[in-house]
Structures are given as C-alpha cells and as structure tokens.
C-alpha cells in the first residue's frame, strides 16, 4: 500500500511537471528524454543528491543512532519483562496434597508471580524464614497462612495479591473437601475459566498498538523535520554558492527542484524502510509484542504518511530555501515552517495517549499539513475506515500538486535573486502575474 501511494504521488507530480515541460517545447523534450528517464536531468540531479547525502557523515551517524534507539526500544522491554518476572517462595509446613500444590502455583500465575514451594520442618522454622525474608508466606498444614506483616485492605502489591488469592483458593479447596468432592472433582472445579466479558464502550486500557503508534509518530516527526531541513539547506546552499546559475543555464528550475526533492525523498524513504525493516526483524527475533494487534497496520500507515508528508512539505521547504542565502535566514524561516508539524505531532501524541481521538484529531487527519501525524493514530485506534484513509490521502496528493506548482513558481523567481532575503509578498505578486 505504501509503495502504491508513493508511486501515485511521484507519478502525479512528475506527470504534471512533464506535461508543462512537454507543452513548452516538444522537440526539445523528445530529444532529451529519448535515452530514458534516468538519463534525464531530473534523474541526474536526483542521483547526485542521493550520492552526496548518503555519503555524508550526518546521514551515516544519524542512521546508526536511530537504529540503536529502535533496538533499545524493542529489546529492553523484552529483557525487562523476562528478568523482572517476580518470584515468591512459599514455605509449607506439614503435608500439602499435589492438588493443593497445583492450586497454590495457579494462584501465583493468576497474579503474575512464579511460586516456588519449599518445605519447612515446623511452624517455628517457618516463622524464622518469614522474619529473614527467605519466604513470602507460610502454609501451615494446608489450613493456615502466616505472613511477616499484616496485609492491609489497601495493599495492592503483588505479594499481597498472592496472599489473598492463595487464602481464597485454599479456603475453597477446604470447602470442596468438606463437601465430599474427590480430588479429581475439586481439581476440575478449580480449573474453571471465567466466561468472556464484552463491552459496549471502549475502555481506557493501554495496549502495544499505542506504543507502536507513538514510536511511529516520533519517526515521522524526526524524519520530516530532518529531511525537509535538508531540502531547505540544500536549496539555500546551491543559491549561496551560485552553482545554481551554472545549473539553470542547462536545466529548467522545475527539473532541478524536482530532482532535488526526489533524491532527498528517496534517501528519507530508504532510511525509514531500513529502520522499519530492522525493527520488524529484531522484534520477531526477540519476540517483542510491539508488533501485535493492529500494530502492523499502524506501521504501514505510518510509512504511507511519511511519504505523503514529505511530498507535501518538501516543496514548501524548497521554496523557502530559494528565498534565503544565509544560515541565519534559514533558522528564522525553519521555525515558522515547522509549527504545523509540531502542532500535528503534539495533537497526535495526545490522541494516542488518551486512546480516544478528539474531534480535532479527526479534522486534522484530513488536512495535509497535520494528516501525516493524525491519520496513523486513527488507524491504530481503529477509528477510521479504509475509504476515509483513502480520501485523506487523495486530499493530500491534490494539495501537494498545488503546492508543488506554487513552489516551482517561487523558486524560479527567487533562486537567482541575491543581496538579501526575498520577501514572500514579492514572490506572490510575481508568480500570480
């Protein structure tokens, strides 16, 4: 699905630009593209971008760091879960039938505790073991439980839960025995399973999809910020180094800009795919539960919206880059441009955390600047249908085409203007002329 939408976006934008190019000079474009699309100017520009970006230290170090963070996010919970599974030792004084031993073990399992039974020679020895902390509780002749400190009604610790459950179940077992049930009958009753419970409203329970959504949002936020800033700085550097004058003597502004954003976009998508692939592989190897439930759908949706989000924002940042020629101007422009990204990100994080999408989240899911964050969260919460997803993607693609046209117009007017930052007002008056 991700690949299809990527292809659709790329084809629509390229087709639009191609048609304009073709309309202007069919003789020239035929001659130029006769040797295939990758021999075209757009392909040459894109390949240069990919090569220079991938070769850069920032990209290589950044990729390794992100992979390390992802690995930590997947492995640490698994290791923690494996090593922190609580164990409690229960002292047994006197005989305890196999059925009762099984009942005690099952009681531990029901509260998430692994129970180990140890025999104590007598009640005194058991009390000594309780005092020293060697055992959590003692079962005296199957009829009495002894703990070190009294369990209060408000104590919700694992140990307190264990004591309550063991107390109840041993009491029930004693009642079964008093009722004259055989061990087999008693055992069968003790294995009774609770009947399923359904609800008419969603509960506020946290599941692994929420974690996956949040990780996806962070990925989209980091990558959109990083790669759009690359586009902004890349365009600014071409302008400030004046190499753009040499390039535009040969290549059309639309071709140069399209090649640049496609090249950087390819690097971004390749890096995201590498990260997601690495996460999926590692998650499978270590048995992470981050990929269960609707998580795979959230991952696919996140990748789709990473592509659509980049496709939308890259033109905006490229146009902004053509209006600047110094680093300080870049910084003053980058912040206002990032505001919709930050707003979309914060709102989406809030929706993912609450597990209940607000009306605002649902509206933002249809606006191209915020949809890359809002829509994957709705997918994770199963609060969106496939056609709503497709409609939002279609809105984003149409808006991206409009933004791309506007951006190329601004770029064409601004990129050769030097001597200070170009004002947006000048560009709008020029492009609408």
């Amino acid at each position: 699905m991700s690949g299809i939408l990527l292809a659709v976006t790329a084809v629509l934008v390229a087709a639009r630009l191609w048609r304009r190019y073709h309309r202007r000079s069919p003789r020239e474009s035929r001659a130029r593209f006769a040797s295939g699309p990758f021999a075209s100017d757009i392909g040459l520009v894109a390949v240069r971008e990919v090569r220079e970006r991938v070769r850069g230290r920032i990209f290589r170090v950044g990729t390794v760091l992100i992979l390390a963070v992802v690995a930590a996010a997947i492995v640490i919970p698994v290791v923690d879960k494996g090593t922190s599974h609580p164990r409690e030792t229960v002292g047994v004084v006197g005989a305890l039938s196999p059925a009762l031993r099984a009942t005690v073990a099952a009681s531990g399992t029901s509260v998430g505790v692994a129970v180990r039974l140890v025999s104590e020679p007598g009640a005194g020895a058991a009390r000594d073991a309780l005092r020293s902390g060697d055992i959590a509780l003692a079962i005296i002749n199957g009829r009495e439980l002894v703990v070190k400190k009294a369990i209060s009604a408000t104590d919700v610790s694992t140990k307190a839960e264990l004591v309550r459950v063991v107390s109840t179940r041993l009491g029930v077992a004693e009642a079964f025995a008093a009722a004259g049930l055989s061990d087999a009958q008693a055992s069968r009753l003790s294995r009774a399973r609770a009947i399923p419970i359904s609800s008419i409203q969603r509960g506020a329970t946290k599941d692994t999809t929420q974690t996956t959504s949040v990780i996806g949002l962070v990925l989209v936020f980091v990558m959109l910020t990083q790669y759009n800033t690359w586009t902004l700085i890349g365009v600014m550097e071409e302008k400030s180094s004046r190499v753009v004058e040499v390039l535009l003597a040969t290549v059309r502004p639309a071709q140069l800009l399209t090649g640049k954003v496609l090249g950087i976009g390819f690097v971004a998508f390749a890096q995201a795919t590498l990260i997601v692939g690495f996460a999926l592989g590692l998650g499978k190897v270590v048995g992470s539960d981050l990929l269960h439930g609707t998580a795979p759908l959230v991952i696919v949706s996140t990748l789709v919206w990473l592509v659509l989000g980049y496709a939308f924002y890259c033109w905006v940042y490229a146009a902004a880059g053509s209006m600047t020629q110094r680093q300080d101007q870049v910084q003053s422009l980058a912040f206002p441009l990032s505001l919709p990204i930050i707003f979309g990100y914060v709102t989406a994080i809030a929706a993912a955390s609450s597990q209940s999408p607000s009306a605002l989240s649902k509206v933002l899911a249809y606006l191209p600047p915020t949809a890359p964050f809002a829509m994957p969260v709705l997918v994770g919460l199963k609060a969106v249908t496939w056609w709503e997803f497709a409609a939002s993607a279609a809105v984003s693609i149409v808006c991206t085409i409009g933004v791309a046209r506007l951006a190329v117009g601004i770029y064409r007017r601004a990129i050769l203007r030097t001597g200070g930052r170009v004002r947006l007002r000048q560009m709008f008056s020029a492009t609408t002329r």
Binding site: L44, R242, V246, L247
Partner: protein, 298 residues
C-alpha cells in the same frame, strides 16, 4: 551557414532601472569577442539573457539565425561572474555531473574531465573537494566546467579576474584555441591589455547600450595618430607644445605621448624634435584599447 550569436534589441528593466536598453550586437563564429563596459553597464545581465536566466522585457537572442532554445543552451558553455560550484563535492565528480547535464554520456564526461584537468595542470586534484582548492585552481575548475562538453558558444564573465600571469596566459591560450576550432567566444573583462591581446573584436556598452563595437585593429588605428617621442634635455616636451596640430597627451619619464592632427607633417615634426635635442625615440603607436574605452565612455 555559421552565423553565431545575435542579440537583437534586448531590453530589461528592474523597476525604474533600465539594465539593458535595446542592446544589439553579434558574436561571429570563430572569433574571440571582448565584452567591455564599466561596472553596472549591463554585461552580466546580457550574458544571463543568453542563458535565459533573466526575463527580457523586449528583444530576442538567436543562435545561427534561430531563437535560442533549451537544447541549444546545452551546447553552450557558461562561466558566471560569481563562480558557482558545489564547495564540498569532489572536483572530478562535479565536472562529470555538469558534463552529463550538458548531454555527455558518463564515459565521455569522465574522459573529458580527465583531459581538461590534465591540460590545466590540476589532474592530481580530481579527488579533492572544491573548497580545498586555491582561488586560481577553483577558477580553472570553473573554466573546465564551461569547456568539457565542447561548446559551440562560450560565454565567460570576468574569466581573468584574480588570476596570476601564468593563469591568464593559459586561459587566454585556451580561448584563442577554442575560437580557432570554430567556437564563438564572448568574454567580459576589465583587464583591457589582455582583452587587446586576445580579442579580434570588442563591444563596449554603457547604461545598457552599445557605445562602440568593431574589430580591435580598426578601433585602435582609427582616429588621430599617436606618436611617442623622447628628446634628451627636454623631459617635459616643451619643444612640441608650440607646434600647431600637436597635443601632448602624456609625459612620463622623459617620454612624451603626442596626438597629431591630420595636417601635421611627421617629417617636419622630427626635424623640430632634433632641433630641441638628441632624439632617442620616435615611434608611431596605435591607440590602446584602454584609450578607446575611455573615449567611448567620455
């Protein structure tokens, strides 16, 4: 028929400023043409117009009699005044990339890069980043970028600026060689002595208009005759100042530069000089291009 470059009535206004004012001239194939003018005269705007880098309010640029299109420009070479290269990209890769944008295959671009870097003596810097090169070597790389696809038209904005004499000689040699191989070469410079040595023709513009255009030989030999005379014992050329039709334009180190009216007889002038003292120098000189330039802008 190789007509070369033709600029016809180019007009470009920036607000109230008219950068080009119906500017017209041509650059024939096989010639090196100097494009001269004071700062702000419109030279860079004219060169940009040839490459479609500035929109024209009026006028047309044609190549061999046909309006210039994108594919024509691929066969042109351009060296802008503000040097333009990716500072952190390797020299060889950058040149190959630019060559490919001009339509060369990967192999041809690689070969041309190697050949030109070798020719300009910087082959060992092919793997260096551009920013690591000296100013002169960056200038050489920029020139290679304009040359490596074998352009039919070469337009260079101040290609000699900042170069040492050896660099100027090398680039001058290459420009003449390109012209001899049939290329149109148009370049701007404020170094008029070099322009005079290299160019067959010049076009001088001011305020966006052509003020003088023609062959260097014609321009420097036209007008009043110039005579350089040195007379021992008369360091201030007093002997010449009273002769009708003779103007002393400059005296330096005992050497007088005289401008002679058509009516002045040079034999009589020599006799007058000999009367004043021993004549150690008596040479007719062409006008310097710098004089042509100053007179054109006066």
């Amino acid at each position: 028929m190789a007509e070369g470059l033709r600029l016809d009535g180019l007009t470009r206004r920036f607000g109230s400023l008219t950068a080009l004012d119906a500017l017209s001239f041509s650059v024939p194939a096989g010639e090196v043409v100097g494009f001269l003018g004071p700062n702000g005269a419109g030279k860079t705007t004219t060169m940009r117009a040839v490459f479609g880098l500035t929109e024209l309010d009026a006028g047309a640029v044609s190549w061999n009699g046909v309006a210039i299109g994108r594919e024509d420009r691929r066969r042109f070479g351009y060296m802008p005044e503000e040097r333009g290269l990716y500072p952190t990209m390797r020299v060889g890769e950058q040149l190959e990339y630019l060559g490919r944008l001009h339509g060369l295959s990967a192999q041809a671009a690689h070969l041309a890069t190697e050949t030109w870097l070798e020719r300009l003596g910087i082959a060992e810097r092919a793997e260096s980043k551009v920013e690591a090169l000296s100013h002169g070597n960056q200038q050489r790389v920029q020139l290679v970028a304009a040359l490596l696809h074998g352009p039919e038209l070469l337009i260079l904005d101040e290609p000699l600026a900042g170069l040492d004499p050896t660099g100027i000689d090398t680039i001058g040699e290459i420009l003449v060689e390109q012209a001899h191989s049939g290329c149109c070469v148009l370049f701007s410079s404020h170094q008029l002595d070099q322009v005079e040595d290299l160019c067959e023709s010049v076009t001088i513009i001011d305020h966006g208009r052509v003020v003088v255009t023609g062959r260097v030989d014609d321009l420097t030999t036209a007008g009043e005759r110039r005579l350089v005379v040195r007379v021992e014992g008369d360091r201030n050329a007093v002997w010449a100042r009273s002769i009708a039709g003779v103007t002393v334009s400059e005296v330096a180190g005992g050497e007088a530069r005289l401008v002679l009216h058509e009516s002045v007889d040079s034999d009589e002038l020599l006799r007058a000089a000999m009367t004043a003292g021993r004549v150690t120098e008596f040479v007719f000189e062409r006008r310097r291009l710098s004089e042509v330039f100053r007179e054109a802008l006066a």
